[in-house]
């Protein structure tokens, strides 16, 4: 049995230690926010936070998450309030098909946790997730908006 905490809830799963975290989340724990896109850590649709760090869960064995805290898009809202990044995503009408957006949002949240005022270059470096619909211009604007909104609430 492997123990892990997902969105604050402890779970115990009976799976192979090499089973990727993504598939434990999706097929065992029914946490469907993280998406499968490539299976080789290229696209980032499966991005979740492992102890606050963004990881590509398709390529992280569940054993590496044993005893650790996993945060997915489902756990991002606090007390029914959307995260500022989610609100910015709504304000800028970012998603098109929406399939990559869980991963994009988790990557953006991780970026803003480290860098409260990212430049366009910082965004380019941190946001390597693929969006086949090409919502990039709006992702960029939404990250800047979210940064401002986080700063103003913390100021």
């Amino acid at each position: 049995m492997i123990e892990l905490t997902v969105n604050g809830k402890p779970h115990s799963v009976d799976v192979e230690p090499e089973m990727p975290l993504l598939w434990v989340l999706r097929d065992v724990l029914d946490v469907k926010g993280p998406k499968f896109g490539c299976g080789i850590a290229q696209c980032g649709a499966c991005t979740v936070h492992l102890n606050g760090e963004p990881v590509r869960s398709c390529s992280v064995p569940v054993s590496a998450a044993a005893g650790q805290k996993v945060l997915t898009i489902e756990g991002l809202s606090q007390r029914g309030q959307l995260h500022p990044v989610q609100r910015a995503w709504i304000d800028h009408e970012v998603p098109q098909c929406g399939y990559c957006q869980s991963g994009q949002i988790m990557a953006a949240v991780a970026l803003l946790a480290k860098n409260r005022d990212p430049s366009d270059k910082d965004i380019d470096a941190a946001m390597t997730n693929i969006c086949r619909c090409g919502t990039y211009a709006r992702i960029r604007s939404a990250i800047h908006t979210a940064a401002k909104s986080i700063k103003s609430t913390k100021a």
Binding site: W23, D27, G33, I40, Q42, C97, I123, D124, I130
Partner: protein
Amino acid sequence: MAQNLIVMTNSFRKSRRDFLKVSAAVGGGFALQLTVPAPVFAQAAAKAKGPELTAWIVISPDDSVLIRIARSEMGQGSSTGLAMLVAEELECDWKKVRTEFVSTGEQLRRNRVWGSMATGGSQSIRSSQEYLRRAGATAREMLVAAAAKRWNLPEAECLAENGTITHLPSRRRLRYGEVAQAAAKIELPKDVPLKDPRVWRLAGKPVPRLDIPDKVTGKPLFGIDVQLPGMVYAAIAQCPVFRGKLSAVANERIMGMRGLIKVVRLDDAVAVVADNWWRANRILKALPIEWDAGANGDATTESIRAFMRTGLDDTRAPVARNDGNVEAAFDSAAKLVEAEYYAPFLNHAALEPMNCTALVKGDRVEVWAPTQNAEATHATAAATAGVPQENVNVHLTYLGGGFGRRGFQDYARQAVAIAKAVEGRPVKLLWSREEDMQHDYYRPMTLMRFKAGLDSAGNPVALHVRDSSHSIMAGVRPQEIKEGVDRHALGGIVDMPYSVPNLRIEFAMRNSHVPVGFMRTVFHSQNPFMRESFVDEMAHAAGKDPYEFRRALLQAKPKDLAVLDAAARASGWGSPLPAGVHRGIAVQDSHGSYAAAVFEVSVSEGRELDIRRVVVAVDPGYVVNPDSAEAQIQSCVAFGLTSVLWGEITLREGRVEQSNFHDYRIMRIAEMPKRIEAVLVPSGGFWGGMGETPLAPLAPALCNAIFAATGKRIRSLPLKNQGLRLV
């Protein structure tokens, strides 16, 4: 080598025939009525044999409005746009609108009441706008009539607005929810007039999309997210050489592997069913499989391209258009220009890999599918399971991208076949990215040769085009190929907007074993690259400005001309640029709309390409949601530039060489041009598409800018093979 390249007669045709059958079986036409109260989808089904209840609109006593959506939502935003058109005429409170996809079982039982469910060709809005607006207007009139009846006052004194009916003289009011029940019993008014789009209040405005909140909170919306009690999971390996077959599998090698439920052999594939997808895929990878590659095991990109070059020289190629006499005009021309162009196969690469969930139980089939054509999925499921159409139901999910790929039904056929093998249990089939990359219906490889004659003033007097291309129609609607000419494959060529007195266009169909299909903007994704680049070559040979050169040839085509002018104006065409920055321009109509683009680029050391500015002007007639329209322009820029810069599917030993995003590169945020200007110039009077047209002029406008910067003419894509690198 050519004998290896045989005309495709792929199994997709089977489902196409079945789809035609279902279309014929359920007939055309639709009815409109109002169903009240909600939520009554199941009840409506039960009542479908009685007096017809409404198709599109359900109004609850609490005033909430449910609008049904029959077209797939794959990111283009039409599920909001379609609802806006209904709501515009219905005069309901937009804040109370929600939407729901219709199911094919209902569609069939209700005599195709929702019209076509096919989602492609940028058709969703333009081919359903009329009946959707009429549905809204008719329902509004019924609500007004019900209120007037209750008050016993004339309808003409009542006004419907924002979900209420007001009797104007007395200011008495009723909410829609209060009269919806009575309204449902009112006879359908006929020929209710529609609003002039100039007086729209909701449509035409940048209304927030209805699907966005669910898409930022990770809701399980997509086909891949379907979860059913007792569900099992399937992974699949398909014969790596198209048209090959499965020979043998060594099941004994995987016996006892954890989670294994069943190995299912299909004609050209093998699936492993297990208790989760990762285990299914893991077992599949451990399973020794022998394939029979068939006749195409030696094919390579080069062999296919050489086969297609025979189309350029074929002396018997059918003639698609022949105005005047090109040969005579060439003889008297002052200058001749000749060039040959090439565009490779491309993969759609929707981010959600192909998947489908199916349950076969006795003689009934239920399917959950991210499909662009739910009725074709329905027909495919019935045919595969061998059950009557009436025993099938398809639930449409959201699509994680479509781009044309999900109109094909191969994944649905497989899912139902596998479900049949594990009867009684729902099974979710999911392709790996590798399967998705190597089993597409690819954007066709196309070659084109142009020859133009210019007179001494630089005016084009003759143009000869020879197109050697795969035909998508050969696989899906062969009856549309007339005397060897596939006009669909000649889109943008045979119907080019330019006036050239002597014009000859020939088509040599060359179908390899590689399956081809509709990919965003379809032939207008490569043909305009070729035509508009060559027009630039003509302009250069004539010593004329490429914008002015086009203007002179477009005098008989005011809409193409206007959109070209709009792009030129917005970009400041002709105004001075910083040193080293150069412009390129192109124009192309497609999917009922008109588009033109201007690129500004610099190219350092002849290879470092910097895309500094992209201006795209589009005239789609009417714009239903300008915010979604702008999003589609941005989307086309990312999609189009991905193809131009890096897009290329190559073959070796009959199989696709690329396997995943490490070797089939997709644009990322750092590579997206920072300055994209969407210029919407809706001129009204027609309804055009928005999801594909903006892509058409991008490749040539970029390549023409590269020529302006370097003097190097790009005649073959992608740019990575031309020594150009994006910085």
